[in-house]
């Protein structure tokens, strides 16, 4: 069982702090999805782990031993670059063989392993092709085969699907997930796409403002975002401010009515605490009156058909726009009362 630990890593970029104390770990059989906006330092973090850049402070541990001072080429980590960085002067087979040759694998074995690696990514028969003639998706697969062929102790993937179109991305997401699980190599997968992170990650870690804001199983993070920033990052948009009026059961009064959150991420909540409620989009039903718990009176600004549900865009109170998924359609401009189940009301910190 291998284990990579990142401990308190700091890094400045052009005088500005970029990483401000990063901590996380990843172990064999696990894929960690590092989710962050562009410019959040995700790629830099991977480059630090690979040894291409050095952290200003902090440590990278492999099975408890520090990697400080160990050069990139002796770490035996795999890194798949965002733009693949295939060697343009070598053909497909030579690209895939490169890492094996560097390890000193006997050449008789190399050709066999190259074929195996290409088969793994469904690219058999491409050995002699020039990498510059390949399509984006094909290049992506070759880059993956090249990274996997030398059997790295750790695999890092830097937005490997970002350059591809939507359909191909969806297809490759599934393939990648299966492949990562089959190899069992601990993997760090960097992306800015929260859906991709949810699909691929056994764990997700949200990197924002230089720190890991929250990490955990995708369902957990999605069910209970730690704060408004994380929730916004995950694409959630409905927030209202309120005041705690009762603890058992937890009830919060807001300008739109009284709510009883089914989920709370505050360790302690006292009467009189100012909190933010997150209203999730799912489970909204139309009711006759808003004079009940977890109900909102609102005006429908827009209603679009989304296949399995209707997306309601509604203005609440002073015109704050919120969106909910509903099974029933309603005419634009009409007034409706929406009721949410307890589980869709989440109590966050201020």
């Amino acid at each position: 069982m291998d284990r990579l630990e990142i401990i308190n890593v700091f890094k400045d970029y052009e005088g500005e702090p970029l990483l401000k104390g990063i901590n996380f770990s990843v172990k064999s059989g696990e894929t960690l999805c590092l989710l962050g906006r562009s410019g959040s330092g995700k790629s830099t973090l991977l480059r630090i782990i690979a040894g291409i850049e050095t952290a200003d402070s902090g440590e990278i541990l492999w099975n408890g031993k520090s990697l400080t001072g160990i050069p990139t080429y002796r770490r035996n980590f795999g890194l798949m670059f965002q733009d693949y960085a295939l060697f343009p002067h070598k053909n497909v087979a030579e690209n895939v063989a490169f890492g094996l040759r560097m390890k000193g694998t006997p050449s008789s074995e190399i050709s066999h392993l190259v074929l195996q690696a290409l088969a793994q990514v469904n690219m058999s028969g491409f050995e002699e092709r020039r990498v510059t003639d390949l399509s984006g998706g094909e290049q992506q697969r070759i880059a993956l085969a090249r990274a996997l062929a030398p059997r790295p102790r750790l695999l890092m993937l830097d937005e490997p699907l970002a350059a591809l179109d939507r359909a191909l991305r969806m297809e490759l997401q599934e393939e990648l997930r299966d492949l990562l699980h089959k190899t069992g190599i601990p993997a760090i997968y960097v992306t800015h796409d929260q859906d991709e992170a949810m699909i691929l990650g056994d764990e997700v870690a949200i990197l924002a403002y230089g720190v890991i804001e929250q990490s955990g199983k995708p369902e957990e993070v999605h069910r209970l975002p730690k704060n408004r920033r994380v929730a916004e990052f995950l694409g959630m948009t409905n927030f209202i401010k309120g005041l705690v009026t009762s603890i058992e059961p937890l009830q919060v009064v807001t300008e739109f009515g009284l709510f009883q959150p089914g989920v709370c991420n505050r360790k302690t909540a006292k009467k009189g605490d100012r909190v933010t409620l997150l209203l999730k989009t799912t489970g909204a039903v139309q009711v006759k009156t808003n004079k009940q718990l977890n109900a909102l009176s609102c005006r429908v600004a827009d209603c679009t058909f989304r296949g399995d549900y209707y997306r309601l865009s509604v203005s609440v109170g002073e015109g704050d726009l919120m969106s909910f998924n509903s099974q029933e359609s309603c005419p634009t401009g009409s007034k409706v009362n929406l009721h949410l189940p307890d589980s869709s009301v989440v109590c966050l910190d201020k």
Binding site: G51, I52, R75, N76, G78, D83, A85, F87, H89, A147
Partner: protein, 567 residues
């Protein structure tokens, strides 16, 4: 009825031909090339049969052999210094890098006479080094012999061409996507292996291109050999010159020219073959990405080595030149050196008793006039050619190599061709002084085309269409969209051709009359005359010429272009 309709047909046919081929754009430049480049070349061939003279095989083989081996050694030396320098420039920052970078552009447009004068000022018998040694050791004769040695030739060639290597290989190196090398490291390649397996193979075409370019320059070197090598060393170029002007053996000069042409075209052909192969996708780096301060001892040593070498090679001779132009050394009297502006004052005095009665100021004025006319001709034709080539791909295929031909032709060959072609009035050198700027324009035209054309081609068609859709007439589209974009490129091309003309030596030495020399010719004459005053004036003139070139470089740096390809 029938007649008029057929003549109408002919008319529309011509109109269509004009429109289809863009003949209006390329006809004039083509006629210019035919009259002033191809005709002289053909005449060089013809002269072997029409003029009396003696063909001496030994007199061919000797300069040919020397030309080749001095070019090979010069190229090797240049690569030995240029490659580490290219590496340092594209990978590291160091104090004063900006100045050094600017400095490395200097040799591109520094006339040979200036460089020769610079090395003379530093290492020649009257140079700073020998003066200092003679004064401190109390010697009667200069102890350090530099002039008229092979070493002088080689050093001057390295001076000139190190910049070529830094430019060509350095730019390829800095455009190399650093992630490709990092990918190698991640896959377990040590830095040495990364260098050997990834960096070098990706750079190989650029290295070859640089080496061939340097070889070509060394092969056709004229001024350097004539001025620094002295009578002992004769390359093909020098042999053509002496056979024409001293021996008056035109058939021999013609044959030498043809051999020269054959060799240079061969190298140029090889060059364009390899240059076309440089198709490996090099991703442009973010500005400053991958450039850092040297950390390891090894890196520090190589950076220091390159800096010291560049100072010795580039700054010292030019500094010595400027210093020597304002110092007077009285060796016999033992008073040492002192500051003087006498040489500069002399430039404006018309000494009838002097052997050459043309005052240097007059030569400078000649040079400026010729350079201005050259700019006019080459920029006009350059713009026409650029438009013709961008409009029609087919035109580009045959016109471009034709335009580039003069680059592969040595200046001396060009001069010889002019001399034997235009030797009858009205088109003779005596009554038609325009011949000099015309010859300069042939050399400058490829540079103008190479500057303007990429800029013109980089204007996306959609830009013109967008302007047209927004209601701009074709004329307005040109004025509002194209002219501002190519304007800077035209300025760069103009500065290039101005400095080329200002410093041109080889062709001019055939064409200029004794009473109307250009500045480089005047420097050459003063330099080859005995006497401290002549020497001092040569230094002063060379310093002025150097300053003019420095100003040009400053201007070029100011109007930097985007997407500029190196020539």
């Amino acid at each position: 009825m029938v007649r008029s309709s057929s003549s109408l047909n002919i008319l529309t046919g011509i109109k269509q031909f004009v429109k289809k081929t863009g003949v209006l754009l390329w006809f004039l430049p083509l006629a210019f090339l035919a009259v002033f480049f191809l005709t002289p070349l053909i005449n060089i061939f013809a002269v072997m049969f029409t003029h009396p003279g003696v063909i001496n095989v030994r007199a061919i083989l000797q300069p040919l052999w020397f030309t080749i081996w001095q070019a090979v050694i010069s190229t090797l030396l240049t690569m030995m210094i240029g490659l580490p320098a290219a590496y340092v420039f594209s990978r590291f920052t160091f104090p004063g890098k900006l100045i050094f970078r600017l400095l490395t552009t200097l040799p591109f447009i520094l006339p040979t006479v200036v460089v020769a004068a610079g090395f003379t000022a530093l290492l020649g018998p009257r140079g700073l080094l020998n003066s200092a040694l003679m004064q401190s050791l109390n010697l009667d004769n200069p102890p350090f012999l530099f002039m008229n040695t092979l070493g002088a030739i080689l050093i001057a060639h390295v001076f000139y061409n190190t910049s070529v290597v830094i430019r060509v290989v350095g730019s390829a190196l800095s455009q190399l996507d650093p992630r490709i090398e990092q990918a190698g490291q991640v896959l377990g390649a040590t830095p040495v292996k990364v260098f050997r397996e990834i960096t070098i193979p990706l750079l190989r075409p650029s290295i070859w291109v640089a080496a061939l370019m340097v070889f070509l320059f060394d092969f056709t070197s004229f001024g350097v050999i004539l001025l620094l090598g002295g009578p002992k060393f004769s390359t093909l170029e020098v042999a053509i010159y002496t056979q024409t002007l001293s021996m008056l053996n035109l058939p021999m000069a013609g044959l030498l020219s043809l051999i020269q042409l054959f060799c240079t075209f061969g190298v140029t052909f090889l060059y364009s073959k390899i240059n076309g192969k440089r198709t490996i996708p090099l991703m442009p780096r973010l500005k400053g990405e991958g450039i850092r301060v040297p950390v390891h001892i090894r890196e520090k040593i190589i950076v220091r080595f390159v800096i010291i070498f560049l100072v010795l090679l580039l700054i010292l001779p030019l500094g010595a030149l400027a210093a020597r132009s304002v110092t007077q050394t009285d060796i016999g009297t033992g008073t040492g050196s002192r500051f003087t502006l006498a040489y500069y004052r002399e430039l404006f005095i018309n000494r009838q008793d002097a052997f050459f009665y043309v005052p240097p100021a007059q030569a400078a004025l000649n040079s400026l006039i010729y350079a201005s006319v050259t700019v006019l001709i080459s920029v006009t034709f350059g713009i026409l050619v650029a438009y013709a080539q961008v409009r029609k791909r087919a035109v580009r295929r045959w016109l471009d190599p034709l335009i580039m031909l003069p680059l592969g032709t040595s200046a001396v060959t060009l001069g010889l061709g002019f001399l034997i072609t235009f030797n009858r009035p009205p088109l003779d050198v005596k009554s038609f002084p325009l011949l000099i700027p015309l010859a300069h324009s042939l050399v400058a035209l490829p540079f103008v085309v190479r500057t303007v054309q990429p800029t013109l081609a980089s204007i996306p068609g959609s830009l013109r269409e967008a302007a047209a859709v927004l209601g701009a007439s074709p004329w307005r589209v040109w004025r509002e969209v194209e002219a501002p974009i190519i304007g800077r490129a035209v300025i760069v091309g103009a500065i290039f051709s101005f400095t080329i003309s200002l410093g041109e030596f080889g062709a001019t030495s055939f064409l200029a009359r004794p009473e109307t020399p250009t500045l480089p010719l005047a420097i050459y004459r003063f330099l080859s005359q005995p006497g401290a005053l002549n020497y001092g004036q040569a230094m002063a003139m060379a310093t002025l010429l150097m300053l003019m070139c420095a100003i040009s470089i400053g201007l070029l740096d100011k109007v930097q272009l985007v997407g500029q390809s190196e020539i």
